[in-house]
């Protein structure tokens, strides 16, 4: 896996190593009201300026609390939503301004796996027809050939191909998610965006689906964007992990680096709040309670969006909006670190530092 072939330092990588390059992605949802003519009275700033690259063959994890904008970001990357601002370049093509017709070829290369294995499969259609949808939509294979391909896919994801004519209701949650995986795999895409693919499943089933996704990645050289709020799942599958808070990417690093040396106070709090099955580790990790609620994305805080809840917040944090910067040394002229670990924080947490507000 990725540990065997260490990534060259940032900046020296060839450009076509990046499958997706997103810059300044912004997605606002308008709130409208009015008697006859609706006028806009506000905006939900779901994603508010995110820069992100997804490298070929990697699994990029995205974590954050509910409502932090990670699912919206995923739908921006796949252009299910039009962008309010910013640019998404996929495989060398700028897809941010393409219309529906122009997006069609792109739809073959990018697929999604959804959170709800019940909601993402049309209950009125047979499984064979659901998995065959990509073929039908892109006119790839017809009749007997389509059926053969669909059954191959079913076998590939661990479903009995004889169940071709069954309905989603005939399958368990885990099997349904396999159907979703088969559908995503049908056109051999370059990128699969998994939006909380296992959070609706039992823990025992989660492992099976994750194993399936990992083996498919090896076999077909897939790239994943993997969204979850379960930190241990993300730790297990990801090569790099991004942490989101209120529509912003606040930290991004190689998975081990991020889990061992989190720089952003929010990441530290997030990691400390997550339980860990290892009692030895659990003792070492102390819980840090965040005070207050997540602020509204309609009217986010000024400066650093985390400052009202941050134990390290100082005056500067409420005024000055931090940008992603490498390392923890914020002094001018500091040596840039080459491990690609970036944090949007004025006062990053240093190794061994103990945050206030713990229990």
């Amino acid at each position: 896996m990725i540990e065997d072939t260490p990534q060259p330092p940032a900046g020296t990588r060839p450009a076509d190593d990046d499958l997706v390059r997103a810059t300044g992605v912004v997605k606002y949802f308008p709130i409208r009201r009015g008697i006859i003519f609706k006028h806009e009275i506000g905006q939900v700033r779901a994603v508010d300026g995110v820069d992100l690259t997804v490298r070929r063959g990697e699994t990029l994890g995205l974590v954050g609390e509910t409502g932090c904008g990670k699912s919206t970001l995923a739908r921006c990357l796949t252009r299910l939503y039009p962008l309010t601002a910013g640019q998404v370049v996929f495989d060398g093509t700028d897809i941010s301004t393409l219309n529906r017709g122009q997006l069609r070829p792109f739809r073959r290369d990018v697929q999604m796996i959804f959170q709800d294995p019940y909601g993402s499969l049309n209950p009125r259609r047979r499984v064979g027809s659901i998995i065959g949808d990509p073929f039908a939509i892109h006119g790839v294979a017809d009749g007997a050939e389509r059926k053969r391909k669909v059954q191959e896919l079913m076998e590939l994801v661990g479903l009995n191909p004889e169940h071709y004519n069954r309905f989603p209701a005939d399958f368990s949650g885990g099997q349904r998610q396999r159907i979703g995986v088969a559908r995503a795999l049908a056109l051999r895409p370059k990128l699969i965006v998994c939006d909380e693919p296992v959070s609706a499943l039992d823990v025992s089933i989660q492992a099976q689906i994750i194993n399936l996704l990992e083996s498919l990645q090896d076999d077909f050289g897939l790239t994943y964007v993997f969204i979850a709020h379960d930190l241990s799942v993300v730790e297990h599958v990801s090569d790099r992990v991004g942490v989101m808070y209120l529509g912003r990417l606040v930290e991004l690093a190689e998975v081990d680096e991020l889990y061992r040396h989190p720089h952003h106070p929010y990441t530290v709090a997030l990691l400390s709040a997550a339980g860990t099955p290892d009692p030895n580790k659990a003792r070492k990790r102390e819980r840090i309670l965040l005070t207050g609620d997540v602020p509204s994305p309609i009217d986010p805080p000024s400066g650093c969006r985390f400052h009202p809840r941050c134990p390290k917040a100082r005056d500067r944090c409420s005024v000055d909006d931090p940008v992603l910067m490498p390392g923890t040394d914020r002094r001018p002229g500091a040596e840039p670190t080459g491990d690609g670990h970036v944090t949007a924080c004025h006062y990053p947490v240093l190794p061994g530092e103990v945050l206030a507000g713990r229990t």
Binding site: K38, T78, L80, L103, R104, R107, R108, V110, Q111, M112, F114, Q115, D116, G119, S120, L121, N122, P123, R124, R125, R126, D133, P134, I137, H138, L156, G158, L159, N160, H163, N165, R166, F167, A169, D170, F171, G174, Q175, G180, R183, I205, Q208, N211, L212, E214, S215, L216, D218, D219
Partner: protein, 314 residues
């Protein structure tokens, strides 16, 4: 871990083959419907009605009277009143000495044809309009929904009468009028359903695959609408039949001498004190038909969605 290894470790799909697997929701509903005795009886009755309507001609030949033929011998009593049921006329005669049984049989044809055609037309319009309103976003929705509100707040019987008075009565006009005042109710239901289906993840999945709006509407949305629409159609047919009978009763539906249950009852109104059979038999035919469709509609609803409460608890 390779895929083959995965096969060994992954859950083996252990599914019992207890008979419900792989059967479509329709097959399941059909199985439930077939176990429903009320549905069977009503269904059989409706099939019988259909046969009577289809073979009205041969039946009337068998009985020996045509629907517009006046019996100059036994058709009227010496006072000039309708003749009561007898060996000559099993269900008696009407005010012009015509056979009530044959006219009721021909009335079945009108009632079913107009009722079913109007209901189907209303459902077709309602589904298309409702689908468009629900699928194509707030701007289209606002306009179409207002339109449906306007149609629904029409005092429809009054309007129907006014409309027929201008265009002139005929079967086709009647079907059109009934459909025109019924589609909006279907449209509203379909719109609501479409709005909720549109938010489902499988619609988003289809979009992420690059499916066109038309494909999503017909392949993903429509199949989910069939159940409520089917129920609504069965319940709309009796409403349309009564609507037809009412228009005919008020003299703006089927024009005499073509018999319909409504215009028979209208004629009977003048002589009901002397000739109960003339009022009763078309009345019974009308009530039995609406009852059968109502009960069947309720059973169909029950079979398609066992969770909802029946309109008529057993």
């Amino acid at each position: 871990m390779s895929t083959t290894e995965l096969f060994e470790s992954a859950e083996v799909p252990t599914i019992d083959t207890s008979g419900t697997l792989g059967r479509s929701p329709w097959q399941l509903a059909w199985a439930r419907l077939r176990r429903d005795r009320v549905a069977l009886v009503c269904g059989a009755f409706i099939v019988l009605l259909g046969l009577v309507a289809a073979f009205a001609g041969p039946l009337s030949k068998l009985i020996g009277w045509s629907p517009t033929q006046q019996d100059r011998i036994n058709g009227l009593t010496p006072d000039g009143l309708p003749a009561p049921p007898s060996v000559h006329h099993l269900l008696g005669t009407d005010n012009l000495g015509r056979d009530v049984l044959v006219r009721v049989i021909y009335g079945t044809r009108v009632s079913l044809a107009v009722g079913v055609a109007a209901a189907v037309a209303a459902v077709l319009i309602g589904v298309i309009v409702g689908l468009i309103a629900g699928y194509f976003g707030p701007a289209v929705d606002a306009i179409v929904s207002r339109l449906m509100d306007v149609v629904l707040s029409f005092p429809f019987l009054l309007f129907a009468i006014a409309l027929v008075s201008v265009v002139g009565p005929s079967e086709l006009v009647e079907i059109g009028v009934i459909a025109f005042f019924s589609w909006a109710a279907v449209g509203r239901i379909v719109r609501g359903q479409t709005l909720s289906i549109r938010e489902k993840e499988y619609i988003e999945a289809a979009r992420s695959l690059g499916a066109s709006d038309r494909r999503i509407m017909f392949v993903d949305v429509l199949p989910n609408l069939v159940a409520p629409v089917l129920v609504y159609t069965t319940l709309l047919i009796p409403v349309s039949i009564v609507f037809e009978a009412t228009l005919s009763y008020l003299g703006v539906g089927i024009i005499p001498p073509t018999p319909s249950w409504g215009n028979m009852i209208s004629d009977a109104q003048d002589v009901y004190q002397q000739a109960w059979w003339f009022l009763l038999f078309p009345g019974i035919a009308l009530i039995a038909t609406t009852l059968a469709f109502n009960l069947l509609g309720d059973s169909v609803r029950d079979a398609l969605d066992p969770r909802t409460e029946r309109l008529f608890a057993k």
